[in-house]
């Protein structure tokens, strides 16, 4: 049977079967992402991570899931009942809906939408609503603060996210995710749009509220933020949302920037290789995200907003303008790539050098390495 054919030839049954497959895989992947993150963080932190439940702790997530389902579903007395109880679902559904259009292999997603790219970020925007509902409905001040932070942060970072994707769409000339992948058969778009990739990755960290942008959930400040009052199954819904969003975003990033299933020999070597490519690339992005989480401290909310509104949005508009010039005058793609690389390097260099310039840490570092010079 060809992979692209509808199952049993019935359209709605086909959609249903594909959805069930994708959701099943997603649940499994999310469970092992949690396990993987704990193992990986353990490695970064010179400890083992989960290792008791099953061989090398492989069943830890299942044990956690069973425990969470068995826990009492608490609702604070002054919580707004309906808002509180529906918030996890409102947060989860958009992430679930994105999966509908992501291509995992050639012609294989649930549905291949003509406006796939646009669909993904339009639907992702709804993710915030669930978080806001949790923040407002919990009747808790930490949750409220977390909700306000999440709203401010996610609205702001949606703009550079969308614009960086538009830059790619400009180069590709289509919004169909499958066609975007096909166009990257010979070179992934990250090679000609690296700046867009940097912006996308930054905004993605922020949309997922991962470190260093985990301000809405900052456990050392507001101890969990919007889901502070949740327990048991509803809390695990939020957890599921977080990791499912991470996975969906990574697949999306892999599809748009890293060449998805097509880049090296995807068309020749068949769907097994294609699936491997998609999964491998998305896991690479996930690894980057987890690496960031293990090593980077958190930004403050005003620094975060400044970075978005004063740096990222300007850079991304500049990117659009530059791309527009190149496409309008039909200049070569190589030069476009080179200009973008230069832009990306300058951008990262500027961000990085700012911290170095301000630190004067070297003076102190000299202090503790050189015993005689105690005063900087």
């Amino acid at each position: 049977m060809d992979f692209a054919d509808p199952f049993f030839g019935i359209s709605w049954l086909d959609a249903l079967i594909r959805l069930v497959i994708v959701v099943g895989v997603m649940t499994l992947v999310v469970m092992y992402l949690i396990y993987g993150e704990r193992k990986l963080l353990g490695r970064f932190q010179q400890r083992k991570g989960p290792s008791y439940t099953g061989p090398a702790g492989l069943f830890q997530s299942f044990a956690d899931a069973i425990k969470l389902v068995g826990k009492e579903d608490l609702r604070p007395r002054n919580a707004d009942r309906w808002v509180f109880e529906f918030a996890p679902f409102a947060a989860f559904i958009p992430v679930f809906v994105i999966l509908v259009t992501l291509p995992f292999a050639q012609d294989w997603g649930v549905r291949n939408l003509g406006l796939g790219l646009f669909f993904v970020f339009a639907v992702l925007g709804l993710n915030i609503v669930g978080i806001l509902m949790a923040g407002l409905g919990s009747g808790n001040k930490y949750a409220l603060l977390g909700g306000v932070r999440a709203a401010a942060q996610m609205i702001s970072y949606e703009i550079p996210l969308v614009i960086s994707l538009l830059a790619v769409a400009m180069v590709a000339g289509t919004l169909n995710l499958n066609e975007i992948v096909l166009l990257q058969e010979n070179r992934p778009f990250v090679l000609i749009q690296p700046l867009a990739f940097v912006i996308f990755f930054t905004a993605m960290l922020s949309e997922l509220h991962r470190a260093p942008f985990d301000i809405p959930v900052a456990e050392s400040e507001i101890s969990g933020g919007y889901f502070i009052e949740y327990s048991g199954i509803r809390w695990s819904m939020f957890q599921l949302t977080e990791y499912a969003a991470l996975w969906a975003f990574s697949i999306f990033g892999a599809v748009v920037f890293l060449g998805g299933w097509a880049f090296p020999f995807g068309l020749e070597w068949g769907w097994g290789w294609q699936l491997f490519l998609t999964i491998f690339k998305s896991f690479f992005l996930i690894f980057l995200v987890m690496w960031m989480r293990a090593t980077v401290p958190r930004l403050r909310i005003d620094q975060l907003m400044n970075f978005c509104w004063k740096v990222l949005i300007e850079v991304s508009f500049l990117l659009i303008i530059v791309n527009g010039f190149f496409l309008y005058y039909g200049w070569s793609e190589t030069i476009l790539g080179l200009v973008n690389w230069a832009g990306a390097i300058v951008f990262i260099g500027l961000v990085y050098s700012r911290g170095i310039r301000r630190s004067r840490a070297r003076e102190y570092v000299g202090t503790y390495r050189n015993p005689e010079a105690a005063t900087p």
Binding site: I215, V296, P297, S359, R369, P371
Partner: protein, 383 residues
């Protein structure tokens, strides 16, 4: 002009709407209050308008307990004050009793005491680096980095004294027992590991631009303010003042040892962090010197001590440089086998009193790391 009530007062209730100021209760159960500290923040959005610290959740009546038990019996209470650096507290207590009773301490015991106190200082500072990184949100990595060296130091303590956190190793007049055989070798290994740990923190935190952005120019304290607020220890040295009791009013064998007093420049959070980094390094230097110079053999406890220690009536005030600042003991004896009064000036408590001044006007996230940069330990604050 119509007089409208000022909405910032938080008293106006028009149509069931609250004003924008909001109080949030941070602690005593909160991931970043370093124990059971509670602080009520009044915030306007993300800005801290007011902060009110509440302490006393860990109050155990240390001073009264000491006044009601024998001089040697109360040892165990004292390493539970600054429980991250128990040896420093024991040292201060023992030296106060010795000063009051005029007890001589054998030379070797003095050296071992300094080694232990400086190891405790490193221990406490590593706890600070780790917890501070966690306050900043580096998800436990810094915490585990700090914990690795702490575990090694605790292992050393266990070999020496039989207990890790509360060793009760010191006695008025010396130490409970001598060092184990391979101590010097083990200790040098721990020191090299500590220096590696400092390098690791340097790479993980001080080289990170987000860390610098967060900590630079945050709540700078001038020297004058620091003196007025009674800040001591790394807090005052971060402002640039070379004030270290080990040099200013030397005790034990510190006059013979070579070490520098690291100071900062503007007293901001970054300086406080870096001063502690440098201090941990200087402590490792001190320990190396002690290992080199200490007598290879000899008694570690004054053999002339009576079974029941009766201290002649009198009064003394002994200042030591604890890990958090000036850890001083005011002891009064009425000639019996129990202290008449044993007052502790705990540095964390005094440093904490400046918290309100420091956090007002900052962001909520900053308030947390300013609290972290004070490096309080609740056992000492609440006594």
């Amino acid at each position: 002009m119509t007089v409208w009530p000022d909405t910032r007062e938080g008293t106006l209730d028009v149509g069931g709407f609250e004003t924008v100021d909001m109080t949030i209760n941070v602690g005593p159960q909160h991931p970043s209050t370093h124990g059971v500290f509670r602080m009520v923040l009044t915030v306007d959005g993300e800005r801290v308008v007011d902060a009110e610290p509440y302490i006393g959740y860990l109050h155990r009546g240390l001073e009264k307990l000491t006044e009601n038990s024998d001089y040697r019996q109360s040892m165990g209470w004292w390493d539970r004050t600054d429980y991250l650096a128990g040896m420093c507290c024991e040292g201060a207590y023992c030296m106060a009793v010795e000063k009051l009773a005029g007890i001589e301490v054998p030379d070797r015991a003095e050296y071992i005491r300094v080694i232990m106190m400086e190891l405790s200082r490193i221990n406490s500072h590593f706890m600070f680096f780790g917890a501070f990184g966690a306050d900043l949100g580096s998800f436990g990595t810094s915490f585990v980095y700090g914990w690795r060296e702490r575990e090694r130091i605790y292992d050393l303590f266990e070999e020496v004294a039989g207990d890790r956190m509360f060793p009760t190793y010191f006695r008025p007049g010396g130490l409970t027992m001598d060092l184990p055989d391979n101590f010097e070798h083990r200790c040098r290994w721990v020191l090299s590991s500590v220096r590696q740990g400092l390098e690791d923190f340097d790479g993980l935190l001080t080289g990170n631009e987000i860390f610098v952005e967060r900590c630079r120019d945050l709540s700078p304290v001038t020297q004058e303010q620091a003196i007025n607020w009674g800040l001591t220890g790394p807090m005052i040295r971060a402002t640039g003042l070379k004030w270290d009791i080990r040099r200013a009013e030397p005790y034990s064998i510190y006059p013979h040892l070579k070490f520098e007093i690291p100071v900062g420049r503007q007293g901001d959070v970054f300086d406080r962090f870096m001063v502690r980094m440098a201090e941990a390094y200087q402590s490792s230097r001190i320990i190396e010197q002690c290992l080199d110079e200490m007598p290879r053999s000899g008694l570690v406890l004054n053999p002339d001590l009576p079974t029941t220690l009766r201290v002649p009536a009198g009064e003394c005030y002994l200042r030591t440089e604890g890990t958090k600042g000036e850890y001083s003991v005011h002891a009064i004896s009425d000639g019996s086998n129990k202290a008449y009064r044993m007052k502790l000036r705990s540095p964390a408590f005094c440093n904490l009193s400046a918290l309100r001044e420091m956090v007002i006007g900052t962001y909520v996230a900053d308030a947390i790391i300013i609290l972290g940069s004070l490096d309080i330990v609740l056992g000492e604050v609440d006594k």
